[in-house]
């Protein structure tokens, strides 16, 4: 190597000077770029494009994965928000229902001063056998509920009577159950009778109004309310309306088929009347 530079150094130096001068002269006389620079860049351009394309593709991929991850996180976040909103909507619906029920109750309380002591309760179970019509409530003796207490809906329609009560539960026999029997009155005529459940009518969700006066002039649609006689139940709670008048099997007496004002299958909230004042 030492010998190479010793013998050829001068020539190399000379050639370098010539090339440098040539490049300088070419760059002076060229308006855009020197031919050598141009040639080099022309050769390098496709490689540069390929390199740019590859890096661009890699960046795209990287962005895709980054975006995908971000979108997944965003989706999870949105799903969480949606679930929370759905829960809020459900709670709001429930609150709306309860609100409507309590508004009805407030109206009832203002209309019926004699019904002083209420306890609201939720229906936790609908009929459990095919031979009884009962409801299970979430309030019991801990809340002052007693056997025989009257149960109404928010509009003051009679649901039934408490048949059994435990510490935090109670069972209501509805007005259509065969064990239910109440003093009743036809609101329009004032005729008195006994509203009682009948198994043949229980399937149709109806009850009987028995022991009607022989001269009773009843019409379909007449309102039947509690008579309040004896002081066991508050008076004028709506039991239902008369659907039709029938004659019993003996043919000697007639009875009315009463359709309850309450749809038991749709009941979710009720009100237990723990005590009431007897208005004379």
């Amino acid at each position: 190597m030492k010998d190479f530079f010793k013998h050829n150094g001068l020539w190399i130096l000379f050639a370098t000077a010539v090339v440098a001068v040539a490049l300088a002269v070419l760059s002076v006389f060229s308006a855009t770029s020197s031919p050598l620079v141009n040639a080099l860049h022309t050769v390098a351009a496709p490689f540069r494009s390929a390199y740019t394309a590859v890096t661009g593709w890699l960046e795209d991929k990287q962005n895709y994965y980054a975006d995908n991850k971000a979108l997944k996180e965003e989706l999870e976040d949105l799903q969480r928000q949606l679930a929370q909103m759905e829960q809020t909507v459900r709670q709001a619906e429930s609150a709306l229902e309860e609100n409507a029920f309590l508004r009805d109750l407030l109206d009832l309380r203002q209309q019926r001063r004699d019904l002083s002591d209420f306890e609201t309760a939720a229906v936790t179970e609908h009929p459990v056998t095919n031979w009884t019509s009962s409801l299970t409530l979430n309030k019991g003796t801990d809340h002052g509920v007693e056997v025989g207490d009257c149960v109404i809906d928010g509009n003051g329609n009679l649901v039934g009577l408490i048949q059994a009560a435990g510490s935090n539960w109670s069972t209501v026999l509805t007005v259509v159950d065969t064990d239910t029997s109440l003093g009743a009155k036809v609101f329009r005529t004032g005729d008195l009778g006994v509203a009682a459940g009948d198994f043949s009518l229980m399937g149709e969700n109806c009850l009987r109004l028995n022991y009607l006066p022989s001269d009773a002039q009843l019409l379909s649609g007449d309102l039947v309310v509690t008579s309040g006689l004896g002081g066991y139940l508050p008076p004028d709670l709506v039991i239902g309306s008369i659907r039709e008048i029938r004659t019993d099997a003996s043919g000697a007496a007639s009875y009315a088929v009463v359709e309850p004002a309450v749809d038991f299958s749709q009941l979710t909230e009720v009100c237990i009347i723990r005590s009431f004042e007897i208005v004379t």
């Binding site: 009929p127 459990v128 056998t129 095919n130 031979w131 009962s134 048949q163 026999l173 198994f199 399937g203």
Partner: protein, 170 residues
């Protein structure tokens, strides 16, 4: 002849099976209303295990189911199911011993008898209180049995499994 601990184990399994069906009834079946009735599997719980056992065991098991039902369900008498379910158990056992060998067909017959006896007792009590409803009662019996009958298959499989598991050496 089973040893004492095997007998206890067998009745423990029968009880667990029965409780499983009570859970199914309360959590699911009584929320299903079809033809105006709900499926009612308690008579089946009293009858089907009885088809695999002797009369005394069948009656005692059915009596326990009856007591449980009286504590759980509203009825015209406080001891309604306690009174009728031993008869249901005995009837199921007699069917299995004298008419049909224990199995699906026997369970079907025993279940039909169980519903017949239970609902007949209901009708008799209504009649006794002057509220006779024989026609409506028979109609409820038919619908209730038809709706509950499909449950006989899984229930028979369960209790037959218990019987075979505990009588593997017989």
């Amino acid at each position: 002849m089973l040893a004492r601990n095997e007998t206890l184990f067998k009745w423990l399994l029968y009880t667990l099976g029965a409780l499983l069906w009570v859970l199914v009834q309360t959590a699911l079946l009584q929320r299903v209303t079809l033809w105006g009735v709900i499926p009612f599997c308690y008579p089946l719980i009293a009858a089907i295990p009885a088809t695999y056992e002797g009369p005394s065991a069948a009656m005692v098991f059915a009596l326990c189911v009856g007591v449980f039902c009286d504590l759980l369900l509203p009825a015209p008498l406080p001891c309604f199911y306690t009174l009728i379910f031993p008869a249901v158990g005995l009837c199921a056992c007699l069917i299995a011993r004298n008419l049909l060998p224990a199995g699906f067909l026997c369970s079907l017959a025993a279940s039909a008898a169980a519903f017949f006896l239970t609902d007949l007792f209901q009708c008799l009590l209504l009649w006794g209180r002057g509220k006779a409803a024989w026609g409506a009662g028979a109609w409820v019996l038919c619908r209730e049995f038809l709706l509950t009958a499909p449950l006989i298959i899984p229930m028979t499989l369960l209790f037959r499994g218990v019987y075979r598991r505990t009588h593997a050496d017989d």
